[in-house]
Amino acid sequence: MNIDYLDTIRKVDAPPYLFTRIQQKIRDSHSATVPKKFAWAVALSCFVVLYVNISAVLYTTESYKPTTNIAQSMDLMPNNSFYK
């Protein structure tokens, strides 16, 4: 089979409704785009929430006293040894 058959392929016109569809799709894509200000506001809010969460976790870890300290402050035995 000869590949010269490819030379017989003719150019065709796009269907007439395609232009309207393209216009509609461009309009849809335009309206679906999120405004930059809104995107930045969402990003900032996420950052603030994340920051508050991380700092809360770090603060509670630092202020947490080990059970040994609590036991000692209450004059309790921190271990099972009866003889000091």
């Binding site: 590949i3 392929i9 395609l18």
Partner: protein, 161 residues
């Protein structure tokens, strides 16, 4: 220009229409990034080629997925998505069978060989124009076309027995 080029890649009017729409949406969205020193037609050709190749890859992925789902979830083990039929309005009826057969083999070529062959042989572009679109040298285009033709002739000869 866009519709015809997409048609050479997918050989199906529905897919070509879908690609054409995607190309113009893409052109509209990236107009700000377009550099004035390059040719508009070349830029649109590049977008069309990329969109067409992406469309083919996405269809192949869907086909593989549908095959797997039909294996596991369908009792009749039938494919849920039929392969797209050859529907190229630019092909004359008397040559339809032969060209469909040639396109089956063109679709097996590597992307760059396929692009070079389509642009040069079907879209009737010069090697310099193809080189500009593909961002390679005219020598490299010549080599790609030569390799594509050799491979195509060999596979066509094999398929004929």
């Amino acid at each position: 220009m866009v519709y015809n080029l997409a048609l050479q890649y997918v050989q199906n009017t529905e897919d070509a229409e879908e690609i054409t729409q995607d190309v113009f949406v893409s052109v509209f969205q990236s107009l700000d990034n377009f550099k004035l020193e390059s040719n508009v037609a070349t830029w649109i050709y590049r977008i069309t080629i990329n969109k067409s190749l992406d469309h083919i890859k996405s269809k192949q992925r869907k086909k593989r997925f549908s095959f797997l789902t039909s294996l596991f979830f369908d009792d009749s083990s039938e494919l849920r998505h039929d392969p797209p039929e050859f529907n190229h309005p630019g092909v004359q009826l008397e040559n339809k069978e032969a060209i469909e057969h040639i396109f089956k083999h063109i679709n097996q070529l590597p992307d760059n060989q396929k692009t070079a062959l389509i642009l040069h042989k079907i879209e009737q572009m010069t090697q310099t124009e193809v080189a500009e679109i593909m961002e390679i040298t005219p020598k490299a285009v010549e080599s790609l076309i030569q390799r594509a033709k050799t491979k195509l002739s060999a596979t066509l000869r094999l398929s004929e027995g």
